[in-house]
């Protein structure tokens, strides 16, 4: 209940939360919400401006923009969720082990520091060029660039947590290391990690859209907001609705996740604010 009262106090953040729920519904029920098949080409009705039949207009192949935006929500949310799953699971593994087992720490953290010297988008570009295009590969490429930050945060948290009296108590009462990590360290870093995941969601969505825009992301056959912008770019002056709707969806989604992230941060972990500010 406290969770919702935090949102109630900030009306804009509540709007963000509602938008995310709406997006989730779009993503889950895309085939039922979309008014056309997103791939269906209709040369007679190409580049039609928004009207009663085509809510958001049509593109140069006569495909319905509204339906493509709805299916794009599915692509974008899956992509960002994948990035979080990838970067969080590996980040927690590396971060906790280097924070808890000090012997491997210098090597791993040095490597992470050096990886941070490469601009995330450039790293993702190179990784995609090595792995090839495709949803899974884009998730790995973008996920790898967020891995460094997640690992640093988990590492910092582990260092802080292992000094806590209740961890010492657990060690002195002979609890196995495996259980200390699973039962004491991991649950206690959940809140900051949830906050971090919200921001990762927002920023990885931007990165994946940028990759799509550069023609190095998800294959053009799959409708995604980035791909729609990349294709619509040629019709900037003739059919601005090709750019307005998918672009606005990206902005609103990222904004919503940022707003919700801000509330969660204040709510779940006020002390941790400084450490993730850089994101």
């Amino acid at each position: 209940m406290k969770f919702f009262s935090a949102f109630y106090k900030r009306k804009i953040a509540l709007g963000g939360l509602l938008f995310i729920v709406l997006l989730l519904l779009f993503a889950l029920f895309s085939p039922y919400i979309a008014t056309f098949d997103p791939q269906e080409m209709n040369p007679v009705d190409k580049l039609r401006s928004p009207d009663g039949t085509y809510y958001f207009g049509t593109d140069n192949f006569g495909r319905d923009i509204f339906s493509r935006v709805v299916f794009g929500a599915r692509t974008s949310l899956t992509g960002s969720a994948g990035v979080i799953l990838f970067s969080l699971s590996i980040g927690v593994l590396i971060g906790v082990s280097s924070g808890y087992f000090r012997r491997i720490e210098p090597y791993l953290m040095r490597l992470i520091d050096v990886l941070m010297a490469f601009p995330p988008l450039l790293l993702a570009l190179v990784l995609v060029s090595i792995l090839g295009r495709g949803m899974g590969n884009v998730i790995i490429a973008v996920g790898a660039t967020y891995l460094t930050r997640t690992t640093r945060i988990v590492y910092g948290l582990t260092l802080k947590l292992r000094e806590e009296p209740y961890i010492e108590a657990a060690i002195s009462s002979g609890v196995k290391q495996k259980w200390i990590i699973l039962k004491h360290i991991l649950p206690n870093m959940m809140s900051p990690l949830i906050v971090q995941a919200t921001f990762t969601f927002a920023f990885s969505l931007l990165d994946m859209a940028a990759l799509d825009f550069l023609g190095l992301g998800i294959p053009p056959s799959i409708p995604s907001w980035g791909n729609m912008l990349s294709e619509g770019r040629m019709y900037l002056t003739r059919a601005p609705w090709l750019l307005i709707f998918p672009g606005a969806c990206i902005v609103l989604t990222v904004l919503s996740f940022n707003l919700v992230g801000d509330v969660l941060r204040d709510r779940l972990d006020p002390h941790f604010r400084r450490d993730i500010e850089g994101v």
Binding site: L115, L121, T237, V251
Partner: protein
């Protein structure tokens, strides 16, 4: 810094060997004859053991020889320097914009904490941090170049070659595009670090001894929060480098960011390796300068 650089060079070097299959075959494409593939393999030393290849590559790199671009058939450094003018200008002007816009607005928001003005700037900075760079660029282009016709849409004729400084107008929109999301982050950072410092006891003391509000805000609060602002600039540099990739593509600018995308599409790995290594090196130099500047900003910090 030297061990970090060596590690960075190993990472960059290993990129090319992570490619599944034969790098020479992939770089030349399917049409290449076996003789051409063998020729490239020998020219790049790909048939030698890995440590020999790395040694040869590294010894070249420290002498400024990053190998030969597969597409341009020219030294990689030459190709990069050819494109450097645009990117350096964009980076410098964007950085100036970010500092000139981000820091004062951040200070103002913190000083007028929770006022209407603060809420407006907080909202705006949140919005601009959420806008994809390329979408912002396209919208600015539509408004200022296509509809109002104030500024050119794309391209950038070299100033070094033509000597015509009015060509800078080609860079106005790209710089604004690039600066907007990054200024938003600097606004948020300046504001939050100033609010943190404002809680300190010495700020209370300064107010108690009757200093004017302006002196407290600038000399006590801002000076002490400057460290986190300056250290964010290192991060901003990385964000700018990533941003140029997208911005230069939107505005069809002949810069290093565009070169990266083209090289990735052409599988010109020596060029990609060169650019990434140079950027990582610059990032480390900037971070070193940032660390050294701390001693200037805060006399309590000394490096002996």
């Amino acid at each position: 810094m030297i061990p970090s650089l060596l590690l960075a060079s190993i990472i960059v070097f290993s990129f090319i060997h992570l490619i599944p299959g034969d790098p020479a075959q992939i770089m030349l494409g399917d049409q290449a004859t076996p003789e051409q593939v063998q020729g490239l393999r020998e020219a790049m030393g790909l048939d030698r053991p890995l440590y020999v290849q790395y040694g040869r590559w590294l010894s070249g790199v420290v002498r400024g020889d990053f190998g030969t671009s597969i597409f341009f058939h020219q030294p990689v450094l030459h190709v990069i320097l050819d494109r450097a003018e645009t990117s350096v200008l964009i980076a410098v002007f964007s950085m100036m914009l970010i500092i000139l816009v981000g820091v004062p607005i951040g200070i103002l928001s913190a000083v007028r904490y929770n006022s209407r003005l603060d809420q407006l700037f907080s909202g705006l900075s949140m919005l601009f941090a959420s806008v994809p760079t390329f979408w912002l660029g396209l919208n600015l282009m539509l408004l200022f170049s296509v509809m109002l016709r104030w500024l050119p849409t794309s391209g950038f004729p070299s100033i070094l070659e033509s000597g015509d400084w009015t060509n800078l107008r080609y860079l106005v929109l790209p710089c604004i595009t690039l600066a907007a999301p990054n200024s938003a982050l600097i606004i948020r950072l300046t504001r939050s670090s100033m609010l943190d410092v404002a809680k300190a006891d010495y700020v209370k003391t300064a107010r108690a001894k009757g200093l004017s509000e302006g002196a407290v805000n600038i000399r006590h609060i801002f000076r002490n929060s400057l460290i986190s602002v300056v250290s964010a600039l290192g991060f901003t540099f990385v964000a700018l480098m990533a941003g140029t990739v997208v911005t230069e593509t939107v505005f069809s600018l002949p810069g290093i960011g565009r070169l990266v995308v083209e090289s990735v599409l052409r599988r010109d790995y020596p060029t990609i390796q060169g650019i990434i290594l140079i950027i990582a090196f610059l990032y480390m130099v900037i971070n070193l300068l940032v660390d050294l500047s701390f001693a200037l900003l805060d006399p309590r910090i000394r490096y002996s």
